[in-house]
Amino acid sequence: MEEVKEQIGHMPRIGEPAPAFEAVTTHGVLKLEDFKGSWLILFSHPADFTPVCTTEFIAFTEIHPELQKRGVELLGLSVDSVSSHIAWVRNVEEKTGVKIPFPIIADLSKEVSLDYGMIHPGQSKTETVRCVFIIDPNQIIRTILYYPLTTGRNMDEILRIVDALQTTDKNAVATPANWRPGDMVVVPPPNTQEMAEERLKQGYECTDWYLCKKKL
């Protein structure tokens, strides 16, 4: 455990550049820079041929077309070999009819897992937990989600976060709790008293000067 803890070192944080990598995947050798210009969801799973992971891969495949419409690529990762990944992907297709369309990193050396803080020794010393890194086209980490080994991820929430981030970038706004596309957005809070007074005259729906919403 101590050895793994020592290896973990720096954990990536929101707003930081995503750690660069060059990794063997089911689609050949890929580098982080190959995804430059696209949004990227890099996610880890504990192991191939396990039940929760299988349901997640089917679910990620189901939202893949929606992600593509939003300019988002998917990239999976576990510490299994590429042969294991290929066998599992083929098995999922044979048993469920679902063809996994995105690449999966075979991180046998744990190099990428450790750089991204995907191994949480309190959960497992050898497997990656269920991490989701949403990385923007400039390769900055914009969202990090961690789920325990026993809880499969919520695809609606992942899509919702992508929509919220892209809406924020496009319109310089924030999104309130439980926001969905089409809902009102939050106007950034004013920095000066003058701005606070002015915004009350701008036709926003204001609860008070610090909480104003508008339709896009």
Partner: protein, 73 residues
Amino acid sequence: MACISPDGKPTESGSKMLRALQAGLGSPEEIAKDTGLPLFRVRSGLRELAEAGLAKQRDDRYGLSEEGAKLIK
């Protein structure tokens, strides 16, 4: 190797990229648009083809090498 099989022949995606290079397309973006392959696959594939001597890279653009041209004849 995603673009070249163990027997040295280009895979389906490798052949698509080589044909795009033969048609005169040079940037990964142009080749992705022409082949319908994801841009990340094209960037990775062109790098692999160049390492294998089947494509030539100059800055951000690629061209077909003599070896690459022989493969898709």
